[in-house]
């Protein structure tokens, strides 16, 4: 059952909050209970910058199940303004204009739903940045 897990993790996904490891100083997103770099559990939640640069991407054409409507689905590796790298779905992408190096920004979109009668899940995706900060 997806509901309790999603509910517990909603704040980082709604507000784009990462975890800062107080032992090695690195930040990761989405926050996990242990630092993926050094294994420390001494973590603190920190808001992340909403802008970054698209470093790399891959496009999923054959999208399974309920997410089919989002096909073609681009997944991006984004370097945020503070240097932290995150992997996230891209949205509002015009296929001809998708290229490495474009500026992107975090937005909240539907990430999925727990079937037709279940809850709707929201979280962060990235889109090509609007003209201004």
């Amino acid at each position: 059952m997806v509901l309790p897990v999603w509910w517990r993790k909603r704040i980082p996904r709604y507000r784009f909050v990462g975890a800062l490891c107080k032992d090695c100083g690195r930040i990761h997103y989405p926050p996990r209970n242990a630092c993926p770099y050094c294994g420390s559990r001494n973590l603190e939640l920190v808001p992340l910058p909403r802008r970054g640069v698209l470093e790399s991407y891959s496009i999923v054409y054959s999208v399974p199940g309920d997410n089919r409507l989002n096909a073609p689905l681009p997944i991006g590796l984004i370097r945020l303004e503070n240097g932290v790298r995150v992997v996230a779905e891209l949205t509002d992408v015009v296929p001809e204009k998708l290229e490495n190096g474009i500026e992107v920004e975090a937005v909240i979109r539907r990430i999925g739903e727990d079937g037709e009668t279940g809850t709707i899940l929201y979280g962060v995706k990235f889109r090509p940045a609007l003209g201004r900060k």
């Binding site: 909603r10 704040i11 709604y14 507000r15 409507l69 989002n70 949205t91 509002d92 015009v94 937005v107 909240i108 979109r109 539907r110 990430i111 809850t119 709707i120 929201y122 995706k125 609007l130 003209g131 201004r132």
Partner: protein, 359 residues
């Protein structure tokens, strides 16, 4: 005219405003192509394109982005927001508030009111008026009023030419911090069968013969004339006039009947480019006017909702407007961010086609 509304100073105004328009645009000529409508049947609507929400967007995500932009302009701590009102007729849940979702997303929870409001296209405006009352009375310091819709229209119905998607949001706060103060308001409602949607039906219906004169014109004119009578203001006192915009022709017609020249209406008229965003319709017009207004200018705002009712507001822009205009994307930034789609993509995004049953 009997008056149920007290004449008093409203100690509240608009501290921040924000807009959102999805990037996809469906040309009305494309809808006409699919359904075989000749040009003369729809050109008079004065709508060239309508905005369409993408497959991962809904009234919650759009309302959130408008609210986020309003917060950026206000510069306030979201924890200080004591009420969140979400006005929509395309809520994502039949039962489960959208206001709590957005309140949680922006960081206003848990010390806040949160309510979803419903009054066809006028619920967002009800939220704005309720916010003014709560702030003016001193019950809360700031309130957030959102109008957001991914409007439904039955494929092939005349509504399909205009029903579109967008959102607008306003942080209401103390008069001294406001970029625009609200001088006065006047509301006019009756029971009118111009437009409705029954429970569990996917598309609304409209009562032919009720939509124009008995609904839109009667209620907007009633609200604006009531405001004039209450305040002594006249059309020449206003620099801008913004009306609910179900199409591109009604707002110009109602302006003419009330004595406002076209030039005062055009800056707040967005429907010709994106269609009718329902609860965001007139409020997006207000956001666009605030994006460009100068201190001291006076704005008439008159949203309308079927069923039916209209609120008229007299709004005066303050010296604080200019420093806030560039703190978030403007309506024109969202208008410029457009990508034309055809009816097939629209049908996919809006889930209009019938999926085969799962095996």
């Amino acid at each position: 005219m009997a008056n149920s509304e007290n004449k008093q100073v409203i100690n509240a105004g608009i501290v921040g405003w924000g807009a959102y328009i999805p990037m996809y645009r469906l040309p009305t000529r494309e809808i006409a192509r699919v359904w075989g409508w000749p040009e003369h049947q729809y050109k008079a609507l004065n709508v060239s394109h309508k905005s369409v929400d993408g497959p991962d967007e809904d009234s919650t995500t759009m309302g959130y982005e408008a609210a986020y932009n309003a917060l950026l302009r206000s510069g306030i701590d979201p924890k200080m927001i004591g009420a969140v009102f979400f006005g929509s007729e395309s809520k994502v849940y039949a039962v489960k508030p959208s206001a709590t979702l957005i309140a949680e997303m922006i960081g206003a929870t848990p010390d806040t009111m949160a309510s979803d409001l419903e009054f066809a296209c006028r619920a967002g405006s009800e939220g704005l008026k309720a916010s003014l009352g709560l702030v003016s009375s001193g019950m809360v310091k700031y309130a957030l009023a959102i109008g957001s819709d991914t409007s439904q229209a039955e494929p092939g119905d005349v509504l399909e030419f205009t029903a579109s998607s967008g959102a607008a949001a306003f942080i209401v706060g103390p008069r001294s911090e406001s970029a625009a103060i609200v001088e006065d308001t006047y509301t006019y409602v009756t029971d009118t069968p111009d437009f409705w949607r029954r429970a569990e039906k996917p598309y609304p219906r409209h009562g032919e013969g009720f939509t124009g004169e008995p609904a839109y014109f009667t209620h907007i004119i009633g609200a604006v004339k009531g405001l004039f009578e209450k305040t002594g203001l006249r059309p020449e006192d206003f620099d801008y006039a913004i009306f609910h915009q179900p199409n591109g022709k009604f707002p110009l017609k109602v302006a003419q009947r009330l004595g406002f020249p076209k030039e005062k209406v055009l800056p707040g008229l967005v429907t010709p480019y994106i269609g009718n965003t329902y609860n965001a319709s007139a409020l997006l017009g207000l956001a666009r006017v605030l994006d460009q207004a100068k201190p001291g200018q006076r704005i008439l705002l008159a949203p309308f909702g079927s069923g039916a009712g209209s609120d008229a507001y007299s709004i005066v822009v303050t010296d604080l407007v200019e420093e806030r205009q560039d703190k978030a994307p403007k309506v024109d930034d969202y208008l410029a961010r457009s990508y034309e789609i055809d009816y097939a993509l629209y049908a996919k995004f809006r889930r209009i086609y019938v999926m085969l049953p799962r095996g």
